[in-house]
């Protein structure tokens, strides 16, 4: 790589993504962490746009930023312990996490560098129309299966969230029967 290859747009996107991701895992306030995640995901959308995948970028913004971030904020709000808006996010054993994460990063970089060397230049762009055609022809069954999966997930989430038998009783947590079994 030389300076001629320097790509300011990509560099900016990378910086936004990595830095905001870092704040997602370090922010003390959970609401802030979710909002940082939103920024990471937006950065990723920009990344997709630069990779000539505008449809992907749009979907990313709609589902991730619009859907998941909203859901997460709901999750944080509903499970707040105190009335304060501050939902504290405790961390444990940061050294262990740092060591493992950096070890994986180093080795993964090596593997990916090698792998990338085999594919030098960008290939012709696939348009959104191509994408649609493939999605509804070749991958139609997977597509339909996925809609079933989503349905199942919705039903499952509703059933789980409405379950009452695992709630705290006055004497303390309800202990499931299985825990009584001695080895």
């Amino acid at each position: 790589m030389t300076w001629a290859d320097f790509d300011p747009g990509f560099t900016l996107i990378s910086l936004i993504v990595v830095v905001s991701a870092f704040f997602v895992v370090r922010a003390q306030n959970m609401i802030h962490a979710v909002l940082w995640l939103g920024l990471t995901l937006l950065g990723t959308a920009a990344f997709y746009a630069r990779l000539n995948a505008p449809f992907l970028a749009g979907v990313q913004v709609l589902t991730y930023v619009g859907g998941i971030v909203t859901l997460m904020i709901f999750g944080v709000m509903v499970t707040r312990r105190h009335e304060s808006l501050e939902a504290e996010a405790a961390t444990v054993a940061p050294e262990r996490g740092l060591i493992f994460a950096s070890a994986i990063f180093v080795m993964l970089s090596v593997v990916m560098w090698r792998s990338a060397a085999t594919i030098p230049s960008p290939a012709p762009v696939a348009s959104s129309a191509d994408l649609a055609r493939v999605l509804l022809n070749e991958y139609l069954i997977a597509f339909e299966a996925l809609s079933l999966l989503l349905l199942a997930a919705i039903v499952g989430a509703v059933v789980l969230a409405r379950r009452r038998d695992l709630e705290t009783s006055p004497q303390g947590p309800v202990v499931p029967q299985a825990t009584e079994v001695q080895p």
Binding site: D5, G9, F10, S14, V17, V18, A21, F22, V24, V25, M30, L37, T40, L41, T44, F47, R50, L51, A53, L56, V59, Y64, I68, L71, M72, G75, T79, R81, A89, A90, T91, G97, L98, I104, F105, M112, W113, A116, I119, S121, P122, A123, A126, R133, V134, L135, L150, A152, A153, A157, L160, A161, R163, L166, E167, T168, P173, P176, A178, T179
Partner: protein
């Protein structure tokens, strides 16, 4: 912008996610870290799709997105159960599986 730089960017996001997963206590925070990791996987797909051509990689990103949404929905429902049971979302409390 080369394939290598794209891949290393996604590796970086993945490792930040791993770091979060290993250090966070709150279930919701762990879910956020998992989202980061899933996102990095999507980035790898999209990068290869761009550099090798063809729409298939993008299709898989779409699928992965939908699966992630499903995962988050169920995950959050579990978190709510956990909260109702223990009054907290620290996953360390959910260690009944041990017995």
């Amino acid at each position: 912008m080369t394939l290598a730089s794209c891949l290393i960017l996604s590796a970086a996001v993945l490792c930040v996610g791993i770091y979060g997963l290993l250090t966070r206590k709150q279930a919701v925070a762990m879910l956020l870290s998992i989202e980061l990791m899933a996102n990095s996987a999507n980035m790898v797909f999209a990068s290869y799709g761009h550099f090798r051509g063809g729409p298939s990689a993008q299709v898989f990103v779409l699928f992965a997105l939908a699966i992630t949404v499903a995962e988050v929905a169920v995950g959050l429902a579990l978190v709510m159960l956990l909260y109702r049971r223990h009054g907290d979302t620290a996953l360390d409390l959910a260690s009944e599986a041990r017995q």
